[in-house]
């Protein structure tokens, strides 16, 4: 599945919910499906700055696909990073670099997109793209 297809899938899922509570409950559920980062990668360098809670993200190449694992000490943040990883993981780095993140708005989590928001969603996206950029150069 392409990033776009995965984004559409997430949009469709969130479209089933009528109110914010259901959306957040689902996001919390998604957090539980997050591919967890290996404890040994839970280090300072993998911490994403700009979050009130801690978020660690690790990336590694599998052939020409980039795989992400992550964790957070906050449940909602874990849900947010789970959605991002579901969309961006197991893709070619160039696809990740080019992907837009409009779907966040469409699933009703727009308020998390503000750069001043303490959950650091913007920083997370930036970090995933930075990893992609780094591995893209490696693939070239």
């Amino acid at each position: 599945m392409t990033i776009q297809e995965k984004q559409n899938e997430v949009i469709d899922e969130f479209a089933m919910f009528d109110d914010w509570m259901q959306r957040y409950e689902y996001m919390i559920e998604l957090g539980k499906s997050l591919p967890l980062i290996d404890e040994k990668y839970k280090i300072e360098e993998n911490l994403i700055k700009g979050c009130q809670s801690k978020v660690w993200v690790h990336a590694e190449l599998d052939g020409d696909r980039l795989l992400f694992t992550a964790d957070s000490d906050a449940i909602i943040t874990k849900g947010i990073v789970a959605i991002l990883i579901r969309v961006f993981s197991d893709q070619h780095p160039s696809q990740i670099i080019d992907a837009d993140t409009q779907f966040i708005d469409e699933i009703g989590l727009k308020e998390h997109l503000s750069p001043t928001r303490a959950n650091g969603l913007v920083s997370m996206i930036k970090q995933l793209k930075m990893y992609a950029l780094a591995y893209q150069t490696q693939l070239n």
């Binding site: 509570m21 957040y24 809670s53 000490d73 906050a74 909602i76």
Partner: protein
């Protein structure tokens, strides 16, 4: 309910009409504003003062010969006198207008850099806001003085016996907040000041958190420096005051150079203006200062004793309700505290709770509250902090409790 009749001196329904913001909705829910320790809301009376200033007499002060400048100067200096009276300073020129508490602290810290030497000691409390730690660390680095910490206990109270042990003739300065922003503890500042003075040390009290609840009497306290921010007391942001005893303010060198703070200037030598202007370089926040005066008028018209009594009732009500919820741990259970509750629930991240409360229109603070040493002491990443003001109600506390239960249901 006899208690509530007792405090009916506060007519909260009428008071709430002064605060238009309290009528707004957030995320579709009526706003419940419990982040008062971060900033208090602004009553119409203060907004009117701001509009009046810009509509009728906006001008630069102290130098103009024209009518507007004279009016603005008069109003600004009247505000200084209001502040002087509120804090019972002996002289109006002991009130230095600042941009806020942080500015006041930095002004004093900077001034002391020329008065301290290696081997001198500075004491700060373990429950300080970062703004009352970092300037002293910088001062210690610059002068070679040592920074020592007055510890606190599990209840969130300072250990005064340790303070007595730490203080000596090497101690030159003691810095303590009147009320802790993270825990709400009211510190025994009179005792702290007396002990410091007996050892010959000067004392700065950070009154930012106390000022909305307690009317400090600087002469009775015999405190050397007292700092506050207007926005914690229903005034605008970007303005505050530093009270300093005249003898200290005369001893400290100016903080910033510029207009307003000089008597004469030539390229060979500049002589500084007298107090308070020596510390007020440049055009000040004129409108802000006047609005600060209006905020003090507003709060004093309600009465600080009445405010304190009402807020204490809110605090007790909220504390007992919160304790009914399983897994709640309250941080800061000092015998004397202001209307602040810092808490966590069952190891949940405060951010999660705060985010869901926000979805339900409730504004609380989450995080380390710029007091990381306090969080480290309790070995937690942060807390949820609900802080109340005299315009809050028990009904809002009920709404908050229901929302909190809903949030916990979602997270657990």
């Amino acid at each position: 309910m006899s208690q509530s009749t007792q405090v009916s001196k506060i007519d909260v329904a009428t008071i709430r009409q002064d605060f238009p913001i309290l009528d707004r909705k957030v995320n579709g829910y009526p706003l419940v504003y419990f982040d008062n320790a971060a900033t208090a809301q602004t009553p119409k009376q203060v907004m009117d003062a701001i509009v009046d200033y810009y509509s009728n007499y906006n001008a630069n002060i102290h130098r103009g010969v024209h009518a507007l400048s004279q009016e603005a100067t008069d109003k600004y200096e009247q505000a200084r006198i209001k502040i002087q009276r509120h804090f019972n300073a002996e002289h109006a020129h002991e009130i230095i207008m600042t941009s806020g508490t942080t500015h006041g602290i930095n002004l004093v810290a900077n001034g002391f850099s020329s008065l301290l030497k290696e081997g001198d000691e500075i004491l700060v409390s373990a429950m300080e806001h970062h703004s009352n730690i970092v300037p002293w660390q910088m001062l210690a680095e610059k002068t070679g003085a040592r920074l020592k910490v007055i510890p606190m206990d599990e209840k969130g109270e300072l250990v005064l016996s340790e303070y007595r042990n730490l203080i000596s003739d090497r101690t030159k300065l003691v810095f303590v907040n009147h009320v802790s922003n993270a825990l709400g503890t009211v510190n025994p500042i009179q005792e702290i000041i007396d002990i410091a003075h007996a050892a010959g040390a000067a004392v700065l009290i950070d009154g930012a958190q106390a000022s909305p609840h307690i009317k400090a009497n600087v002469q009775a306290l015999d405190v050397d420096f007292y700092v506050v921010s207007a926005h914690k007391m229903c005034g605008p942001t970007g303005v505050g005051m530093l009270y300093g005893k005249q003898e200290w303010l005369e001893k400290l060198p100016p903080y910033q150079g510029g207009g307003e703070m000089i008597a004469t200037v030539s390229f060979e030598k500049t002589t500084y203006a007298g107090l308070p202007h020596k510390f007020e370089a440049g055009t000040p926040n004129i409108c802000g200062g006047i609005a600060f005066g209006a905020a003090l008028d507003y709060m004093n018209a309600i009465g600080f004793e009445e405010i304190a009594a009402y807020e204490e009732e809110l605090l007790h009500y909220a504390t007992s309700k919160l304790k009914e919820i399983e897994g709640v741990k309250i941080y800061g259970e000092a015998s004397e505290k202001t209307a602040v509750i810092s808490f966590n629930v069952n190891g949940l991240h405060p951010y999660d709770i705060g985010t869901l409360l926000d979805k339900m229109g409730i504004a609380v603070r989450t995080g380390h509250h710029c007091a990381q040493p306090v969080m480290d002491f309790f070995k937690i990443p942060g807390t949820v902090r609900a802080s109340f003001a005299f315009y809050n109600t028990k009904e809002e506390i009920d709404t908050f409790m229901e929302a909190l239960k809903k949030a916990l249901m979602m997270l657990q």
